[in-house]
Symmetry: D2
Subunit: 134 residues, 4 copies
């Protein structure tokens, strides 16, 4: 089963803009934070995957649909799950929801290519692939 993994995020003052809302570029950073926490929940560290096994998930595509504004100090839930997995790439799906009232803040997807630190496309090692898919 492909279930959502959830991680909280608190909107920072520095993330707001003069419209009084969280600037839309931060959503990509929150998605990325979701990926980090997702990996940790799956039993490995994205940092170690990069440092020890030379596996990088390069961002090839991002897509975000902004449904409702998020405000300073809002406690948000970033929901993340695997979209598709191929031998040399994978995608993630996201939802961001405000905890206090359940408002859907955003939906999105990111597409990634597996490379080594020299930017050469490589195959995702089976140990990470297995963990991501459990």
């Amino acid at each position: 089963m492909n279930q959502w993994y959830e991680t909280p995020i608190r909107v920072r003052y520095a993330e707001t803009d003069q419209m009084g809302i969280a600037h839309h570029s931060n959503y990509l950073i929150w998605f990325e934070h979701g990926r980090s926490e997702f990996c940790r929940a799956k039993g490995f560290s994205y940092r170690d995957m990069e440092a020890e096994d030379d596996v990088l998930l390069v961002v090839a595509e991002t897509h975000c649909r902004y449904k409702s504004a998020a405000f300073y100090e809002d406690l948000l839930t970033v929901r993340i799950r695997i979209g598709t997995v191929r031998s040399r790439g994978l995608s993630f799906e996201y939802e961001i929801v405000r905890e206090a009232d359940g408002t859907m803040i955003a939906e999105g997807e990111t597409v990634h290519i597996v490379t080594d630190s020299n930017k050469r496309v490589r195959t995702m090692p089976e140990k990470y692939r297995a963990k991501l898919l459990t």
Copy 2:
């Protein structure tokens, strides 16, 4: 005719990440910088449109395809043009190219809804609509 408008941007050190490339969230900020400069080139200031006429172009959707990495100190060209224009919304299209070698760095689109500062959808005033479309 719907021609590209071009504006330069220099990759900042703070925009790089530990992969040694410009972090992908910055592309949305560069797109936005392109919109500011595009408006200025069309004869009005986005700042004044917001402050004087209460017209905001709220971001409803962003989409970016990352073609090649950008590096610290790279001089990039952000190319921007109008996609579609409706009475209460519009979209922009983008390309980012590295000047030194013409490499395509990214392509993207953003979709915007026209609102007032109270987040109510409104019609784009004719004076801005006319300028954007010339």
Copy 3:
């Protein structure tokens, strides 16, 4: 007594730079996050103080000494306490420590002026002053 209040922060990928460490500008954002959490711990929300009582703590000065690098996924503790309090201003002191090994990452101070939303200097309302000092 002027005790440290502690709040955790996890270093994000987007906060790293090509040196492989957290970019130094983020420390000011972490300090600010510490102030938000400090206020919440003292029984009020910085957001409400701004929105309901028109009290802003404008940043007048920042000072940070970087002792050791912080890395992606590091779990840090931001320690914050009140420095000085005057009728129309106050300062905070900070330490940032890595939880895993107790390494001192940074020390700093920020100085703030109390204003209203029109940037006029004003006196800190007694209810906030009392809470900050308890």
Copy 4:
């Protein structure tokens, strides 16, 4: 003679916060941008110094005094000059001024230690030292 070197910067929408002004953390990024442009004006690239000669100017200390707010689309001048130069470190001084009316926005200093990419303190190579001081 120790003269100011000047470089322009345009305040981005993403750099504003809900107070309607440029967020104070960006000033450190603008200082850094000033350092990049300063090096380029002195005849070398900070990127090449890092990549080719393994010379890094690690930030050891930052200090900024905020004099007046900067706003979206403001055209600012970042003024930078060398403070002190020692064998294994140096400091820079900064002023940020709004072009339109000459308002002093901020003053600051940064202190740097010269290291290699393994974070070992090293001596600044004479060729860079000479260029910085001309």
